[in-house]
Symmetry: C2
DNA sequence: GCAAAAGTGTTAACTGTACACCCATGA
DNA sequence: TCATGGGTGTACAGTTAACACTTTTGC
């Protein structure tokens, strides 16, 4: 891609994306390490993002950032809101980075944040224009971030949790076929505490939002687990009845 | 207030506020009727809003708009998110209005929307810079709005409902002292259906988030109702225990 | 045969829901 | 005394929460 930044970019507004993934063990977030600039050695991770083009809407800008990193389209994506504190770009290392990457480094920039849920086994993230490297980090290891990205990240975790209680969005983090144990582990990773295995399975099965497949795990050194799919039609039926409380 | 728009305003970003009020009968929203411009007779109502100054953050801009209309400060305020569809300013009557009120009428503007909850008995709204008149309209009467304000308004109603289920924000719409019947009516207005009176009262009393006062209604032609207050401390205690489901 | 994770039922406590009558007041 | 809204209890159904052992597989 090769854009004329002077004319196409809206210089006051950016998007940033909190991209969640699940490796069957831990909930992870995709972060980028910026290319080093000037003589700043500090290397905070940050969220993928970019300025917005004048001919795309906000959702499209977020989709573009995701596509550049993951090559995936039609990703589950929700807006978190706008962040516009006056000091959001004031850390010394952030200013240095902006000076070498933006046409108007001192400009005030308001960012619109999104969170995305992806099946991280489906792709390898690749470095983009602004990133030296891209990596999946366990969410509980994230202690600091560039700009105001830690604030955005924390908001994203809260929203993910809040949403999981009222909608079964977790399926977006899993492959099409999954086991109930994987789903169970995922829910525990998001809510941050243990959930009773029997009660969890009973709830999912009773709500009929999972469809049992005629296929089991192979080659595992223990009783093989049955595969399931998300049952979209049944879930839609539930929603129409007004259901919105999973009780986690 | 008298600002130099060329220098102080961020021309690409505005805030718009959905201000809810409750008159003990219906849920209402504060709308403005724009001053007529050119030869456009159509007079759609719109949400109060303004461009953002470069020396204020997003929340402060929203507070400023509220203060200008209501003279109230410390209002309950939540951000709804950013709205940036490319066609959000494309209706003919909107373009005419922008031409006579904005320095760069053709500029793309992204808006950050907020909703606010106020006790509408505490003040009379007053016309502001951009508004010919200001009025409270029952939410169910709103069928169309200028710009993309109907979309924002609908999102605000959804969020108000969603939030009411997990937090007792309704108290912000009532005076400090209120009766349980008023609270009951308010909840019915927001959730949009009848709620059993006994079950409702039992729930509020059992959760201990209302404090019974030693004071009754006077001069009413029926059994006088007891006044209550919101019990902030007890509610905080509930939150700390992880409570977040009122079940409406 | 053993290690490892899958899969399965019951009970008690709590919560939600449906429902109808008497009470206190002003006019 | 009547019209108006305030205020109260009970029973049934459904949901949540706690808890431990047997099964199937690979090695």
């Amino acid at each position: 891609m090769n854009y004329n930044y002077e004319h196409d970019l809206n210089k006051g507004i950016s998007v940033d994306c909190v991209i969640f993934g699940f490796d069957f063990e831990k909930l992870k977030v995709l972060v980028i390490r910026r290319k080093p600039v000037e003589n700043i050695s500090e290397s905070l991770v940050s969220l993928p993002g970019d300025l917005i083009f004048n001919d795309e809407n906000l959702d499209q800008a977020a989709q573009r950032v995701l596509k550049e990193l993951t090559d995936l389209e039609n990703i589950y994506l929700e807006q978190l809101g706008a962040f516009g504190d006056l000091d959001r770009l004031s850390k010394p290392s952030d200013i240095a980075w902006l000076r070498s990457n933006r046409a108007q480094p001192e400009a005030r920039v308001i960012t619109v944040a999104y969170y995305a849920l992806v099946n991280l086994n489906a792709f390898d993230p690749k470095p983009s224009n602004f990133a030296e490297s891209v990596s999946w980090e366990p969410v509980e290891d994230i202690k600091s971030m560039a700009f105001d990205h830690l604030e955005i990240f924390n908001k994203a975790r809260e929203e993910l949790y809040r949403k999981l209680k009222i909608q079964p969005i977790g399926f977006n983090l899993l492959p099409k076929k999954f086991t109930l144990s994987q789903l169970h582990k995922l829910y525990e990773a998001i809510v941050g505490r243990e959930l009773d295995k029997r009660n969890f399975r009973r709830k999912m099965i009773k709500l009929e939002i999972v469809k049992k497949l005629d296929e089991k795990q192979k080659g595992v050194p223990h009783k093989p687990s049955n595969f399931y799919e998300f049952h979209v039609e049944n879930y839609k039926r539930l929603v129409n009845k007004g259901f919105d409380n999973f009780g986690f």
